[in-house]
């Protein structure tokens, strides 16, 4: 056996890829070759050193985050792939949606079945609970996700998004940056942390939906505003 073959077997042996007979042959060579003996020890040392490069475990909230992302994806697919018969209301619904500024992506029901739409603006202020990144954050994510999933299950949610809490501007003649944690840098005040677009029979029903949100328990506020639908095309 030559030195190159010996070292190749040593490496394969470290990776558990060498047969016993090969290893014995390599060991015999190492015992007789000082250079390969030294190289073999160094390779084992390098393999051992590499093994100390231990990765941490996945973050504790990764499960909750995945559940949220899957729910978002599912809802998005439900919106874009309606399971009901598409024609003829799909074209009309897309038109109405586009006029309303939603690009047709949030359409689920034919126009005749659609209920009024309300915008729930979730606001947070300096007194709202800071979720941080620990177990509280995980619990809050789970509770918000559950609330949202329930709206999806009931078929009332048309769209929802969180807003980046650390970036943004508030324009009031000049401009005010939004700092980390979403607090405006001009000294407090509330900021919008996300929104939900829901269908409800009337303002009372929309309020009932909003009151089930965990956002209120965590010190946030919810502004409920009816969406003004574009006028329907007149009939002759």
């Amino acid at each position: 056996m030559d030195c190159e073959s010996c070292r190749e077997i040593v490496v394969r042996g470290l990776a558990g890829e060498a047969a016993r007979a090969e290893l014995e042959e390599a060991r015999a060579h190492v015992a007789a070759c000082a250079a390969c003996g030294e190289a073999s020890a160094q390779l084992e040392d390098a393999w051992r050193e590499l093994g100390k490069w231990q990765a941490p475990k996945a973050p504790a909230d990764s499960a909750a985050r995945l559940a949220t992302r899957l729910a978002l994806r599912t809802e998005s697919m439900q919106r874009s792939l309606p399971s009901r018969p598409r024609w003829p209301w799909l074209v009309a619904a897309a038109l109405v949606g586009a006029l309303a500024g939603f690009g047709g992506t949030a359409i689920r029901h034919p126009p005749s079945e659609r209920e009024p739409t309300f915008l729930l603006l979730l606001r947070r202020g300096p007194d709202a609970v800071d979720p941080g990144s620990g177990p509280l954050h995980e619990r809050m994510v789970a509770e918000y996700s559950a609330w949202r999933s329930e709206m999806v299950r009931r078929g009332v949610l048309r769209a929802s998004r969180l807003l980046d809490a650390g970036t943004g501007l508030v324009l009031r003649g000049g401009s005010t940056a939004v700092a980390a944690r979403g607090v405006p840098r001009d000294g407090g005040g509330e900021f919008v942390s996300g929104f939900f677009l829901v269908e409800a029979e009337n303002l009372d029903t929309a309020e009932a939906i909003a009151r089930t949100s965990p956002h209120l328990e965590y010190g946030g506020s919810i502004e409920i505003r009816p969406i003004v639908e574009p006028p329907k095309p007149g009939r002759r």
Binding site: V11, L14, L50, S62, R65, L66, A67, R73
Partner: protein, 193 residues
């Protein structure tokens, strides 16, 4: 909402991956949650070592989103973990390609991202040597080394995941370990040991 946090959603022994992947293919979210709980640390570790600590969790999420979206391509012939590694590896490669493309637009690109602050050794020089070498290794070489050393995969399995032959994997690992050996030897020589 499906609970992705615990593996054992119901009393009794946890079903093997083989059964779970069939249920997953049929659209069973609970099967996904069990597989996630079972494999998330391995996938996270792979992403952590290939792409970096700061992005590893996002890539873990993206991996399992793709697992869900592409579940129809599960045939049941291959081991689920091998298929999962293929998905995770592709997610990492996509991310690294995007990052490289973004950096190519900069005149002064930043140094390769370190894959996290290791805490394994009191010997700082050896630690730095290993970390720098790993950051410099071509991605396919680092991938082969990581999958072999930390995930215990065979050369054949690594080849399946990386889309190359077992022989190519053997060459990559051999060269990587030789480079590491040489680098560590130089450190020892510098210290006069």
């Amino acid at each position: 909402m499906t609970d992705f946090r615990s593996e054992s959603l119901h009393p009794g022994p946890s079903p093997p991956d083989r059964d779970l992947q069939l249920r997953l293919r049929a659209g069973d979210e609970e099967a996904l949650s069990v597989l996630f709980a079972r494999h998330r640390d391995d996938v996270f570790a792979l992403c952590w070592r290939l792409a970096g600590a700061s992005i590893a969790d996002d890539l873990l999420q993206e991996t399992f989103l793709r697992v869900w979206l592409y579940r129809a391509s599960l045939t049941g012939r291959a081991r689920f973990s091998t298929w999962l590694y293929v998905v995770a590896r592709n997610v990492c490669m996509d991310y690294l390609s995007r990052r490289a493309r973004d950096r190519s637009l900069n005149e002064d690109p930043p140094a390769p991202e370190k894959t996290g602050e290791p805490s394994w050794t009191p010997n700082a020089e050896r630690r730095v040597v290993v970390q720098e070498l790993l950051a410099e290794l071509p991605l396919e070489v680092r991938e082969a080394l990581v999958l072999s050393r930390f995930h215990g995969l065979s050369y054949r399995e690594i080849g399946e995941i990386s889309g190359c032959s077992a022989g190519a994997v053997k060459v990559r690992i051999h060269r990587a370990l030789e480079r590491l050996r040489t680098a560590m030897k130089n450190v020892e020589a510098t210290r006069g040991l």
